[in-house]
């Protein structure tokens, strides 16, 4: 296999493994690694040795990707990005598992409350907060509807209350995950520094 072909294969493979990054970041990395390979080849090192010293394209890409997801997500408000980062964090330890769990519960509760608020005008008799003898018996959107002696107490106030509570829960969840991701980054940096000093 000729050297140029081996290099092209390696760089294509690297590009593929760097998939989750932006196009600019990916091409910048590929350009730099390509320059490294050409520089090393000019010193007379053969292509197998150069690529061997770089490590496999998958391993190299993983080193670039590591931390990137968490770093970008900690500045994002997208639930999808935040939950992907929380899932990555969950693979690293108990703290991550806890953050992921808080994310799932928070987004499910917030989303559920907001959706329930929006369902009130569509299913007014099925959506609300029912009370019987001073005790809460049901909450949300219920099929079949709750009948007497329990009675619904919020009426159309249910809509703004649920939309507000849902939005606040979603915001709070986003804030908690972002803060946890930032804390985890600080821990990691501290660990790396301490590791460097040890």
């Amino acid at each position: 296999m000729n050297a140029e072909y081996q290099m092209k294969n390696y760089l294509d493979d690297l590009r593929l493994h760097l998939g989750p990054m932006t196009l600019n970041e990916r091409e910048e990395i590929v350009k730099e690694i390509s320059a490294h390979i050409r520089d090393a080849a000019e010193t007379g090192t053969n292509m197998e040795t150069i690529l061997d010293r770089l490590g496999s394209a998958g391993e190299l890409a993983a080193q670039y990707r590591d931390g990137l997801l968490i770093r970008t997500a900690s500045r994002s408000v997208s639930p999808l990005k935040l939950m992907r980062a929380a899932l990555r964090l969950a693979t690293k330890g108990v703290f991550g598992v806890f953050v992921f769990f808080v994310g799932i519960v928070g987004y499910a509760m917030g989303g559920g409350m907001a959706i329930s608020g929006m369902l009130k005008p569509i299913f007014p008799a099925h959506t609300g907060m029912w009370i019987q003898d001073g005790r809460l018996v049901a909450f949300g959107t219920q099929f079949p509807s709750i009948g007497p002696p329990a009675h619904e107490v919020l009426g159309m106030w249910y809509i703004p209350l649920m939309l507000t509570a849902g939005s606040l829960t979603l915001l709070l969840t986003t804030f908690l995950i972002r803060t946890s991701l930032q804390i985890s980054q600080k821990w990691q940096l501290r660990l790396q520094r301490n590791g460097g000093m040890a």
Binding site: A35, D39, A40, E42, L54, Q63, D66, G196
Partner: protein, 128 residues
């Protein structure tokens, strides 16, 4: 049994040494740029020559990338006679400050540890 124990000790110390090198690499990469800008392969060669740090070459580029994201390095592409551009890295002011802090902490820590460890090595030589 003794052979197995020896293998475990060697594997553990290899892993420990690998972690030690990885942690120190960030500081070493910053230090290589103290006197001016260098591109990737030059940094690798500089570290090999000046610190006997032999690297799996792929490890340095993600580290440089991270240090740049942290604002400790800047980079620029320069057209070279070689016919392809090279990405040169330089220390930022924050990078210089951080490196000084790291160097100070490293030197004081390692000299303290050396005082602790040197007697162990002397004992070993005497027992030989």
């Amino acid at each position: 049994m003794a052979k197995m124990r020896q293998q475990i000790v060697e594997a553990d110390s290899d892993r420990w040494e690998a972690q030690l090198r990885k942690g120190a690499l960030e500081m070493a990469a910053l230090a290589s740029l103290w006197n001016g800008r260098l591109y990737g392969l030059e940094i690798i060669r500089f570290l090999e020559t000046h610190s006997r740090l032999v690297l799996a070459e792929g490890t340095i580029y993600p580290i440089l990338n991270r240090l740049k994201t942290e604002g400790l390095l800047t980079s620029e592409w320069v057209e070279a006679e070689a016919g392809h551009p090279r990405k040169y890295y330089s220390l930022t002011e924050a990078g210089r400050l951080r490196l000084r802090e790291m160097a100070r902490a490293w030197v004081s820590f390692s000299s303290g540890l050396s005082r602790l460890l040197e007697p162990l090595l002397e004992t070993e030589e005497i027992s030989k």
